[in-house]
Symmetry: C2
Amino acid sequence: MKGPCAVKITAACIQFPVQFAMADANRAVMADLVGSAPQADLLVLPELAVSGYDFPDLATAQSLAESFEEGPTRRLVTALAAERNATLIVGYAEQAPEGLYNSCMLVMPDGAAVNYRKLHLFNREQRWFLPGDKPAPVVDTPAGRIGLLVCFDWFFPEAARSLALRGAQILAQPANLVLPWCQRAMFARSVENRVFTLTANRIGTDTAAGRELCFTGQSQIVSPHGETLAAAPSDAPATITATLDLALADDKTVAGENHLFENRRPEFYPGL
Amino acid sequence: MKGPCAVKITAACIQFPVQFAMADANRAVMADLVGSAPQADLLVLPELAVSGYDFPDLATAQSLAESFEEGPTRRLVTALAAERNATLIVGYAEQAPEGLYNSCMLVMPDGAAVNYRKLHLFNREQRWFLPGDKPAPVVDTPAGRIGLLVCFDWFFPEAARSLALRGAQILAQPANLVLPWCQRAMFARSVENRVFTLTANRIGTDTAAGRELCFTGQSQIVSPHGETLAAAPSDAPATITATLDLALADDKTVAGENHLFENRRPEFYPGL
């Protein structure tokens, strides 16, 4: 197994049409897609990949939520991470004692796992989910130091910045994107922080809430220099992969005489 | 004259090839271009538009610097702002008692003026210029509330964020861009802060430092929703204009139930 200092890793984003409320079926699809993916050190799947996204009411959200510690998705992802010898990141609806969170779990090949509760809830999510109660984590994994974002977190440059300042080489973003901006903006998140960004978005449409909510696909892997290393279509399942040279993310120098982090002037950013 | 609450304004970016060390000639070109520009409430010109950019040594930089209070560029810009009834923003090399700054001046039609000293110096600039010693200003002008950035400041999302959080509707960026990323990244600066971004870049090549430094043009005006309202070529002089509906920049709501500023979670951004 590669140690945390591995320099080159292979990463994949898996994009597929989650079927609303079909948790068992979605887990089966996830297992198939992870099982048939090219060998990779890191596999990122969409937000709420088990439950679907657009809940009609709280009761439906509750019925599809599960615990981080011992839910069926955790068991499946743990088994898949061991089987594929990969770090997996999957979004799911978390049932906690105090309520629900829109969370993602990161599970390593040895079963070690970290949970992240989305800090910036989008639109009607705020009706079912509690906002995250801890900073997004940066996790040392066999696939590098990974910072976690979920979907709408992208809109807040502070979130990605904080992860990068704490050493993240890769920002992994399970997503259920419906607005048109994120994929283009992740170029800036990569360049300004000099990190790899991996966006695993879903496709398809949720209709259970009495409206058609369409997800935009276009999962992508962007390099610290803003190159799109891999990109998926907007309307078809896809597993995209790229080799990531993590040393690129460790070098924060620009044009020889600048350093993107050391040149920050925090005393001159009032209001932040 | 429009008051600070005017909702629609016309803005222009003026792109031209500054001639290194030809201060009088550059001022004459500026006067011609401002004089012949379409009527606009706001005119943004490039960084170091009088001196040129790539100084071979400190003595050359000093010989081309002038005071904010009473230099010839300030006199010219004040006259042009009155003549055109417009707010003008121009980059210049500032001579202060303690040393040089890479500054830009904002001058309103009535002659009121604000100075900004670039906070994030790029590459060899650090050899001649002192880094800015105050936060970038947000200025209430007849053309709206304008936040100032100079060139490499774009790389630091905190800089634009701070201006937007302090009420800027427009980010005006005199630039001498040589790296390939800024114009694409300003899309994110506009969208994440819901502000207009105006990038006035120069074209041409500086050679006085014994190397060829080429500037990338492509000045642009981007809306708070990420639309490119106007864009210049990479290799020709251009004056681009757009009508800016400033109300778009005042509305920070997203998808009905989100607010880009109120939804920030500053307690969960460690390291910033």
